[in-house]
Point group: C2
Chain length 291, copies 2
């Protein structure tokens, strides 16, 4: 099979063709400018590629409700030019089944299909970088609900030493993204996260927030595995701190062997690296074809 | 149809027979003592009732994983005598299909089938009383995952005025249940919630915590409706405070008409009152029969 996939990102767009074994056969990347300029280039790429299906993972917010008039749209994004963009409608010209979901749900699906979440029916995939978002796959399906989850905006309790910090999220002073994203670290310390790798106090505070958020994710989602990617998680030492903080916050309340005795296998890195999103997008298209 | 249902509660057990229109045809209640004493009485009740199916909602933690050796058990509860009790196995003697889930998931299913969540595919049902628990029904199905959700134990940010309060949860000083359950109110003020109805400051603080938790639920679950029951919610004024706090915490980030402009219909009371759990249990059995 030739499965088409698109990742619509805030800074770049990635297109690819994969087969059903998770092998990327071809790939094409362009910078994200306006919809008028970007979308036709993506369409052109696929025109002679003879794809069987197309899956699209997009930055949000997006409308995932198939009964809605604006299903398949990017809706209220502040990104100039992209609000109310009919993405799925545009690609209907390709005459193949189209799947559409958030960028993080699609990356989660990639890891569940081919990566660190393979053969596990309840997995959450968080990306902690410029923004914070979670893909949520429970009992064998991606979760949608009213819109889609916005786990990165759950409110957290500030650390005593961090009380006066004003985070970068314009909506929430103390949401997860405001306290622990890349821009949050940069705002707090005046330099980028990668320049702070030798400062344990920086990563202890970071783990304090991520651990709290993961504790809440364990309580709210009851996942079988938590996969954490994104630029901030590139610091391998952070994983150790995060596992410790998460256990400290759960504090023995969830008496499951997977958490109490195997935290190293419970909170893990992605296995597909940069391919999680695009392979998940291809799989999303395949699922749509299979319906 | 004659649908059997059981609610296993910490203080009482309720059995009932309903039809598929949500009418309770018969009901039987006994106090909860030991499994050896209580379970045979429940079994006896159903023996001559000619039921088509049985649904059971139980206090937890419970094992809901059908591939597990202890599926259908109450597992690690501190309740004396009840740890490692094989509930589903015991009722197999009735030779009918048996559904099994948490008490809150079952109450959520009741409200989704016949009550305030009727015809809505993504609903969360929270009970705020002696404990705090949420049933979670997303995209047309109850959520399970590794175990089941424990939303009442998500960690919250303490109010400035409440910083020195030590909540009653033995695991978490600042979880939702520790800060906002009935026992929490009683510990904070030295008297039961129902004696404090004229004290607005009590209910403002209560709403501060519930609003924070609901904001996090909106971020994590993206529900189409939030139903709140339990003893603490019997104070009708609290609903107004909670709606206001939830909107304040979301702070316009989720741009959905259902939340921004219809919060009165978004955060609501249960419609089935005390029947939510038992009717949900009956429906759970019916779903098992229909499989």
């Amino acid at each position: 099979m030739r499965l088409g996939g698109i990742e619509l990102g805030g800074t770049k767009m990635v297109c690819a063709i994969s087969n059903e074994n998770g092998e990327v056969l071809d790939r094409y990347t362009i910078p994200t400018t306006t919809p008028e300029e970007t979308l036709p280039k993506l369409l052109d790429y696929f025109k002679d590629k003879n794809i069987d299906s197309l899956g699209i993972g997009s930055f949000g917010p997006v409308d995932l409700n198939k009964n809605s008039d604006t299903y398949g749209y990017i809706t209220t994004t502040p990104k100039p030019g992209w609000a109310n963009t009919d993405v799925v409608g545009y690609f209907k010209q390709l005459n193949v089944p189209i799947g559409f979901d958030t960028d993080v749900n699609v990356a989660c699906l990639g890891e569940v299909t081919y990566g660190a979440g393979k053969d596990i029916d309840s997995v959450i995939y968080g990306t902690i970088g410029t923004g914070i978002g979670f893909g949520v796959y429970l009992d064998g399906r991606l979760v949608h609900g009213l819109m889609h989850t916005e786990t990165g905006h759950m409110l957290l309790s500030k650390h005593e030493k961090d009380k006066d910090f004003v985070g970068p999220c314009p909506f929430h002073d103390n949401c997860f993204e405001s306290l622990a994203s890349g821009p949050s670290i940069e705002k707090r310390y005046g330099t980028k996260a990668e320049n702070l790798y030798d400062r344990d106090d920086v990563w202890q505070l970071e783990a304090y927030y991520i651990g709290q958020a993961l504790c809440n994710c364990v309580m709210c989602y009851s996942p079988k595995k938590i996969i954490l990617g994104g630029g901030v998680m590139h610091n391998e030492k952070l994983f150790e701190f995060v596992r410790k903080e998460t256990l400290k916050d759960i504090n023995g309340y969830i008496k499951k062997d997977e958490i109490l005795n195997h935290i190293d296998e419970y909170i893990v890195s992605p296995k597909l690296g940069d391919n999680a999103g695009i392979l998940g997008a291809c799989e999303l298209g395949r699922l749509e074809l299979a319906k």
